[in-house]
Symmetry: C2
Subunit: 453 residues, 2 copies
């Protein structure tokens, strides 16, 4: 029995401790929890045996740094994770409280269980295990754990953009993605980018009574509906001029590999999503819609009255939270300009509309032939006992683009989440067997990556 098997109970207790901290980065009242989570990570890094552990302060939430550089002549890996989480709302849909980690069956339920506290802790515990068993690592490692992944990660972006010497590495290892299926080791080689912002629509100077003014007053809520319908049609096609021009279709080989993935679309629709019907651009297969096509979504609409009962108000202003997902070779700056122009062009009369950016990130692709990716595939295949598959993710991990752009290193996206982990939703969970196998896979990876694959 190795260190990982011997220490399961303790590792689980420490995961619970981490999950109890409501480190919600999008709500400013949780600043103290953000700091507690950062300090928890720092303590974990020290305990794992890393050196130079410190919080890197800046304009946003602290970054947590640590390193072990005792393997002269060997490659250096930069490990990335994040300690911030999404808000837990709607609270009434959680079967157990979001910040009281609860085990049911093989899963642990809590906000952040999979995204990304559980996965971040896998990385740290892998290092802790190897250090405990051997007193050293087979290669050099640096950790950079952030606290703003769910809100755009501005601090880490500006820090990475400075190209500080202590981030010099050969590859990044990012543990924030999922496996395609429970027993199927998976490397993610493509991510969608994102442009997230607010559509702000203003009508009259103040709220108006819909009886007295209805028929003459502009309604910003209706204007939002009109703009949204002008930007995207009922068949899922984005109608923003030029928006899809740069979309690069996946290569035939990649499409063929996707078609071979073990997948039951009916089960996905009914059990995982619980939806009546899958929607989107019907002329593209599902994985292409999810991984290689841009989307436009509305996440919430603020304005007017949404309480109990009836209020006959035409609001003076309304705001919609909207985002688009970008795919290679779309660029956020260009997309933002296209959105702005389309909003101005489709704005109905009587109101003003503007798009205010909250954050953006470029889409990214990594080459599966890179030695650090091949090493990861081998390590995972060994531990999970199945051939590693290559997929993309429809989500956005902006740091992958920053590591590429500023540090010139590829990112190995080795994830241990599962498709039904309910990320960003009620009842987020982590499949505990993956928590334990993840540690062993990362530990194995250190050896293989140290010697080239």
């Amino acid at each position: 029995m190795n260190y990982f098997q011997q220490n399961r109970e303790r590792c689980l207790e420490e995961l619970k401790e981490f999950l109890r901290i409501p480190s919600i980065s999008t709500l400013s009242e949780h600043k103290p929890d953000i700091r507690r989570a950062a300090e928890f990570v720092a303590a974990q890094l020290r305990k794992a045996g890393l050196n130079g552990v410190e919080l890197i302060e800046g304009e946003g939430n602290p970054l947590v740094y640590g390193e072990w550089l005792g393997a002269a002549g060997k490659p250096t890996l930069l490990f990335y994770g994040h300690y911030d989480v999404q808000p837990p709302e709607p609270l009434n849909e959680w079967m157990s409280p979001p910040f009281e980690p609860t085990i049911r069956g093989d899963n642990i339920y809590a906000r952040g269980a999979a995204d990304d506290k559980g996965l971040t802790l896998i990385l740290i515990k892998a290092i802790e295990g190897v250090m405990a068993m051997r007193g050293s690592l087979p290669l050099n490692v640096r950790f950079l754990i952030e606290g703003e992944e769910e809100v755009g990660g501005e601090h880490i972006e500006s820090y990475v953009a400075k190209r500080p010497p202590r981030l010099q590495s050969d590859a990044a290892v990012i543990c924030d993605t999922e496996m395609f299926a429970p027993e199927l080791p998976t490397l993610c080689i493509g991510l969608r980018g994102i442009v997230y912002g607010e559509l702000i629509v203003k009508g009259a100077r103040q709220d108006l009574h819909s009886g007295i003014y209805g028929g003459a007053a502009p309604n910003p809520l209706m204007a939002i509906a009109e703009i949204l319908c002008a930007l995207k049609d009922r068949d899922g096609h984005i109608r923003i001029p030029g928006f899809c021009d740069r979309v690069r279709p996946p290569a035939a080989a990649e499409r063929a590999a996707w078609a071979r993935l073990p997948f039951d679309e009916e089960k996905y629709r009914m059990e995982e999503m619980g939806a009546q019907e899958l929607t989107g651009e019907a002329e593209y297969p599902l994985f292409e819609r999810l991984w290689a096509r841009p989307t436009l979504e509305v996440h919430g609409v603020r304005g007017g009255f949404t309480g109990e009962g009836a209020k006959t108000v035409i609001p003076a202003q309304a705001v919609a939270k909207i985002s688009t997902r970008l795919v290679p070779d779309q660029q956020p700056e260009e997309a933002i300009e296209q959105i702005r122009k389309a909003v101005a062009k489709t704005c109905p009369r009587g109101v003003t509309a503007e798009f205010r950016l909250i954050h953006g990130a470029a889409p990214s692709m990594v080459n599966p032939e890179n030695r650090f990716l091949r090493a990861a595939a081998r390590a995972m295949t060994e531990i999970f006992g199945n051939e590693t598959v290559y997929i993309r993710s429809g989500g956005s991990i902006p740091i992958v683009g920053h590591f590429d752009k500023h540090l010139g290193i590829p990112s190995v996206m080795m994830g241990f989440g599962l498709p039904d982990d309910n990320l960003h939703a009620p009842n987020e969970k982590l499949y505990l067997p993956n928590f334990y196998r993840g540690m062993e896979a990362v530990a194995r990876y250190l050896d293989i990556a140290a010697d080239g694959s």
Copy 2:
């Protein structure tokens, strides 16, 4: 100096006391305030010299009843007002707190100042004054003051529908409308009806991450936008099949009278509404759009995330509060059916949509040649010194329809509000000179109506 002039200060203090009670009928946590407001009204009726004052309890908020039946052989008038108010949100747009009545210039600012506490108190104080000066009234009066006008008035409707003997009257006097201009006495002879409800749209079983599921997941917020745009076009035309078939155009004489009303459309747009442009069905003149055309408005959209920052959620469910205003000869029951069918027909794939009724009321018209209306016009002309004009209102006063249907009596809508009173909006106010002249006009009306006009 008469009683009204002598007692201005005290009446104003009593109005303030009434306005301090946050009797918001749409929020259940204000139930105790609703009761306090009902008891305040009862105490005022007793003080005015009415008999048989009591709270009529039922399923909803109490009705307040009082009567004076000492004028044998004379007509009986049924006075109506309401003591409940709209919610005050958005609070940050109020220049003074909504439930701390504040006088600035000639106006008193508070939620309910004009709608309808100030106007209800005008009726009570008119009776109090005549009783104090003469010890009797020239005709018989009954008061029926309700506490659910802003939430559909179910209690008063079911009470009136029982046709209780103590409501037997010759006409109703409703003090819940406005004057066309500050010095222009006005009788309202037409009201729009309403159908208010929720458009409930359901997609997946739970909230989904827009990165992972965007491109395949149905988005109920987007579906709401699509349904709304299908129900009403950008030019303000309602596209619900059959909805406008029964709309009766105003008679040529009424249209001509509207065209003669003193009105500055630019001033209305810029100063009263503060809007860039008036909207709606461009082929109809403004007053026809406001008074004689149906509308469809969205009042708020609930679902997803609307807090600070970014959350990339596709909500499982979203709800839009919507209403339509109805005009003669539309009927709520038929309109509800038409809305339901149109919602089902325009619902996009992947979601379910249903319309849940909150309340409905029929539109209504009264004949200006009725003796009680002619008496009101004369009384107001005498007190205000200008010829009384006849207008309609775009709002809905469901009780007018109930009095007509169940008691067989016409309603005299004698209002003392002004167009810029900000009903249902921040900084609601009442023009104090109208508070005082209103009492005198109602007192004068008693004499004229007692003898026929």
